[in-house]
Structures are given as C-alpha cells and as structure tokens.
C-alpha cells in the first residue's frame, strides 16, 4: 500500500505486506503541513498494523512542535503494534529537539483521563462529604452562638463600623428592589384572589383586603425579604469571605490571633439580624399598598380596605412575621458566611460557594418557614 502525491505533501508512506512500513518525510514539518498531511501519514500505519517503521527524515528542512508531534505519533503507533520506529537522517540541528520532546516509552503516555471511580466509591464519597458538611455546619453554629454571646457580653469590642456598613448594604441598598418585589407580589395576590372570591358572591371580592393583610404580614413579607436577602446578602457574604479565604486573609487573621468568626462573621450576622426586620416591615407596607392598588381598581374605597385590614390582623400577626424574619435573617447571614469559610482553592471555588450559599439559604428558609408555620398552628397563633 502506497500513499503519496497530495498538494503540500511532506511525506511518502509505504506499508509493505511484511508488516514493515517506510515513511519518507521532507520539507517543512509545521502546523499547516502537518495538519494537511496527518491523516494521510498516520492512518495507513494504523490500519496496516505496521510494527517496524523506518522514518527517513533526511529531507526535513524545518520541524516545529507539530512535526515533533507527528514523529511521536509514528513512534507510538509502532510501539502499539509491538515494534519500534527508527528515525534516521534527521538534520543535526533538529535532532536535540525531537529527542528532548520524545517520550522514553511512547506507550506509557496515557492520554485518556483516569477512569471514574466505581459507583459505590462515588456514593460513599458523596455521603462522606454530606456528613462532613453537616458537621461543619454544626460546629459553625456553635461557634456563631458562642461569638454572639461574647458580643452581648462585650458590646464595645464588636466592630460596629463594619456592622453599620453591612447593614447599609443589606438593608438600605436593598430598598429599591424590595419595594418593587413587595408591590408586585401584593398586586399579584390581590389579582389571584379576587377572581375566585367572586364565585362566592358579587361583593365577596371585598375579602381581598383580608387575604392580603394576613398573607403579607404572616407569610409573604418575611418570605420575600428572606429570599431577596439570600440572593443579595447571603451570596455577597459567601463571595467576600470566600475570596478572603482564597487570598489567605483568613489565615492572616488567625495568625494575628484574631478569630475570623468574631472579626468577620459577628458583624455580618448582627447587621443582618438587626436590619432585615426593618426591611421586612417596609416590604409589608409596600406589599399591602400594591394589594390596595388592585383593591381600589375593583371599586372599593380606602376606608373599606383600612377597616377590613384592622379587623382581620393584630399585633400577633405582625410580631409572628417579624420573628420568622429574625430566624430567616440569622439563617441567611450564617449560611452565607459559613459557605464562604469553607471555600476551597481554585478560580471556581468562590463561585461554587456563592451558589451553595444561595441554594442552601433558600432551602433552609423554606424548611424553617414550614417548621414555624406548624408551630404557630399548634400554638394557635
């Protein structure tokens, strides 16, 4: 089998019946010529299962990395077929490069990545990681509680400047987006409840005011605020603390004898817990206003809306909602910081921590909401 004669040819390849092959290389072995001739040179040798390959490189004028790659592949094919490739005639100035770049044993080069671990091993690793994660969370919870107790005992030592800064970012800066979400959710609830209520009578849609007040104060206000905070504040905490971990700032704190939890986490948790209930009250008011806009469009006056609202809700609803908000705020801040603290190395690590902070935060918020909802129901609140 003989293969030759294409444009820009750098090689003649001949595979004889006796499982020997001869390759004559010539001209410039660069990226362009090797790309154009690769299959023509390599495929006959692979298919012919040639073992002993004689490579005549006396006509080679230039050889760069692509040419070296071709020579390595020819050696690999021969080695795979149980023989070896012999290069001769290579110009003296090119020989050292080929020698340096060639593999001592071409068959050793494992180009395929290592096979994945067996399923059982992977399941075990995942379970172990989950367990480790849970243990870290428990340890961190203990550390945060201890640090908060310390902060209560030593209020002067808390970094209040950091608390103010975080509170501004988590609370004041969130007002525009919180207003938008609150107003839209209030209006959506009003629209979604008005139509079904009309099935109970022409004036039954007046109960929209009741539903909005109860739903917003007891549930939607805290929940919207918490989910917004998980997306804004929790992710920011994870990214900030994670970046500090990657850049060894946390190690620097530790070696200076400063506790990262007291120095970084306490201000963030305190700021979040202090500011989010206020943000929640704001969201409650805006949501009710959004609901009222729809209620008014149904033809009811403000007085009716106000009267029904005051009739159906009391301070217990408001305080119950705010207690939920406190719990959610604690979760958002703690999860964000904890995910930041356990950030691994590498460029994707901070992104992973941020994602995990948001996802874990939202899942735990919903779980806590369910628990508190059930508790309120049992307590008759």
């Amino acid at each position: 089998m003989k293969n030759r004669g294409v444009e820009n040819s750098i090689a003649d390849v001949e595979v004889t019946a006796g499982q020997d092959a001869r390759v004559i290389l010539s001209g410039r072995l660069d990226a362009a010529s090797v790309a154009a001739n690769w299959a023509r040179v390599v495929e006959p040798l692979r298919q012919g299962r040639a073992a002993a390959t004689d490579i005549d490189a006396s006509g080679v004028e230039y050889c760069d990395g692509a040419g070296v790659g071709l020579l390595i592949e020819l050696r690999r094919i021969a080695a795979r077929n149980g023989g070896q490739a012999t290069i001769h005639g290579l110009p003296a100035k090119l020989a050292p490069l080929v020698e340096m770049a060639s593999l001592d044993d071409p068959t050793v080069c494992a180009l395929d990545p290592p096979p994945p671990a067996p399923v059982l091993v992977r399941v075990g690793r995942s379970a172990s990681e989950l367990l480790r994660d849970a243990l870290q969370m428990i340890t961190f919870t203990g550390e945060v509680i201890a640090a908060l107790c310390w902060a209560i005992r030593h209020p002067r030592q808390v970094r209040w400047r950091d608390v103010r800064m975080v509170a501004e970012k988590a609370g004041v800066n969130a007002l525009p987006v919180a207003s938008l979400l609150g107003a839209l959710v209030g209006a959506i609830v009003a629209y979604q409840t008005a139509a079904p209520l009309r099935n109970f009578g022409a004036d039954a849609d007046v109960y929209v005011a009741d539903i909005i007040a109860v739903a917003v104060l007891r549930e939607l206000g805290p929940l919207i605020t918490a989910i917004l905070a998980a997306g804004r504040t929790g992710s920011a905490f994870a990214a900030e603390v994670g970046t500090m971990k990657v850049t060894e700032e946390l190690d620097a704190l530790s070696t200076m004898g400063l506790s990262p939890v007291r120095f970084l986490i306490v201000p963030r948790v305190l700021a979040t817990v202090l500011v989010l209930p206020f943000l929640c009250v704001f969201v409650n008011l805006i949501s009710i206003a959004g609901g009222y806009a729809v209620f008014a469009s149904l033809g009811y006056p403000w007085a009716t809306f106000w009267r029904r609202t005051l009739e159906v809700v009391n301070y217990v609803d408001l305080l119950g909602g705010l207690f939920k908000m406190l719990v959610f705020a604690l979760l958002v801040a703690a999860i964000g910081c904890q995910r930041g603290l356990v950030t691994k190395q590498g460029p994707g690590a901070v992104g992973d921590s941020t994602t995990r902070a948001v996802v874990t935060g939202i899942v735990l918020i919903i779980a806590a909401d369910w628990l508190l909802g059930a508790a309120y129901f049992r307590l008759g609140i």
Binding site: A32, G69, I72, M100, P113, G346, P347
Partner: protein, 279 residues
C-alpha cells in the same frame, strides 16, 4: 553568564521606540527606547514599581502606549488591530507570574487550548504536540492534573508549556522565578536556557531575581522608578562590574545603594553599552 550561544549582532526582533506609558494620567515609563535581538534571552529588571511589568504588558499588546511605539518584527503592536493583531499575537507566547492556567482544565487541556483555537490540526495531532511540549518542560506525568493540584514550580512549567504550544517566535515570561525555592528556580532557569537553545526562540523575561538574571540573560535592561526610564542596558556581568552608575552596580550586587534610586547620570550606561566601551 550562560553558555548558550546568543546572537548579539542579530537583527532586532522587538524595537521599543521612544515609548511612554501612563496609567490614568500617571506617568509610569518615560521615553524608553531599546532593541531586543532575535534569539536572545533578554531580561527586564529594576526595583519594585519601576515599570517592568508595564513594559511587558505593552509589548504583548495588553495596553496601548501613551507615546512612542513598540515594533514586533516591524509591526506596531500598539496600532495593530483585527487580523494583523491576531497574526502578531499568534507569534508570541506569554507565561504570567501566577501561571494563569485555566483552573477548570487539566494541564493537558490547558496546553491543547491554543492549538485547538489557532490550528487546523486533528485532535490526535494536538494531543501529541501538547504531550511533546509537556515533555519538554518535564510535566509528562502530570497531564491530567488540575492546576490546583500543581506545586508552584509545576505551575510555572505548565504555563511555559502553554506559552510555547504554538512555537512562538517570542516568549514573554513575567517573574518566572518569583515565589520558587532556589533549587526549583535554578531548574526553571536551566529549562528556559534549554528551550531557548532547542527552539531558537527569543525570550523576554521580567525578573528581579539576581541569580536568575546572571544565569540566563544575554542582556538586561535596568529600569528606574525615579527617572521612569532606562538607566542601564547590557550583559549583566558587564553592568555589574563596569557600569559607571553606582546604583546599577549596587542593584546587581544586591547592596543597599548610597542614593535612593537608580538615578542618573541619565543614559550613562546606555551610552557605554551602545559603543561596547566599558571602562
């Protein structure tokens, strides 16, 4: 001084011509002129904040000069755009101080990347070329490792393998020895010299590691933070022994200078270097 055959009489491959660099209106380098010859190992040195990396960034086209020009093989990299710039960038390789390896890709994939993007080679050919480059830098056993799993020296070598993947005419290295222990640093110096000899590539290296400078540099340019320009240019051993500027000699002998900067006599050493007439 390295024993590799340099080509001091060769034609200039890079010409920095009356170059001025600014960041946000703040002057960093002022009227810098120098030439780098084909095939030489050229080191840019100087104290911290003297503009070494700034000069490198302009040479590789990451920043536009505020004045003057930088010619790579006759092409002004500051003015090049589109296909001309792409062609120019295809001829240079850069290894950054921290490696700048893509963290989500293995070492092999990092070296494969420029070959995949810039050539028409089939995948198995790209594999072979990437493996040969990694063999050249001694990383053939770390093909499937992620950058996070590499030591500092391995990261630098992997970055070097990626920089030479496309057989560039010029390889720029930013602080290749920074953060390495002396033995690893010496190994990296030896590798650079070996590659320069094997590939006939021009190396432009930013460094202030004196042992490395003396081990690998054919010529070194010393920049000065105070005057923001070149204060000495020439073979490092000659500058150390004969440069009339005391601060330059102090820098190259690691002695505290008697003056606070590598100050004038301005261009004193350059003038001497240009004539090769060291006292």
């Amino acid at each position: 001084m390295n024993e590799r055959a340099a080509n001091p009489a060769g034609e200039p491959l890079i010409r920095v011509d009356d170059f001025v660099a600014e960041y946000d209106g703040r002057l960093v380098l002022d009227h810098v002129s120098l030439e780098i010859k084909r095939g030489e190992v050229f080191v840019i040195a100087g104290g911290s904040g003297c503009g070494k990396t700034t000069l490198l960034k302009h040479m590789i086209g990451l920043c536009k000069p505020a004045g003057g020009r930088i010619l790579i093989d006759g092409c002004d990299i500051g003015q090049a755009a589109g296909a001309e710039l792409a062609c120019l960038l295809r001829r240079i390789g850069v290894a950054y101080q921290g490696g700048a390896l893509f963290g989500s890709l293995t070492v092999l994939e990092n070296v494969r990347l420029p070959l995949e993007e810039h050539t028409d080679l089939p995948p198995d050919a790209i594999d072979m070329i990437a493996v040969s480059k990694l063999k050249l830098v001694g990383l053939e056993d770390a093909l499937h490792k992620l950058p996070a799993e590499l030591s500092g020296g391995m990261t630098k070598r992997a970055a070097l393998a990626r920089a030479i993947a496309l057989d560039p005419q010029i390889v720029f290295l930013d602080e290749p020895s920074a953060g390495l222990d002396p033995i690893t640093s010496a190994e990296l110096d030896a590798l650079i010299l070996r590659l320069a000899g094997l590939l006939h590539t021009t190396f432009v290296i930013v460094s202030h590691e004196l042992p490395s400078i003396f081990a690998i540099a054919d010529r070194v340019v010393i920049l000065d933070a105070a005057t923001k320009t070149v204060v000495a240019l020439g073979p490092p051993a000659e500058l150390r022994d004969h440069c009339p500027n005391e601060s330059v000699r102090a820098f190259l002998t690691r002695r505290p200078p008697t003056t606070t900067h590598l100050a004038p006599p301005r261009n004193e050493c350059r003038g001497l270097q240009a004539t090769g007439d060291y006292p």
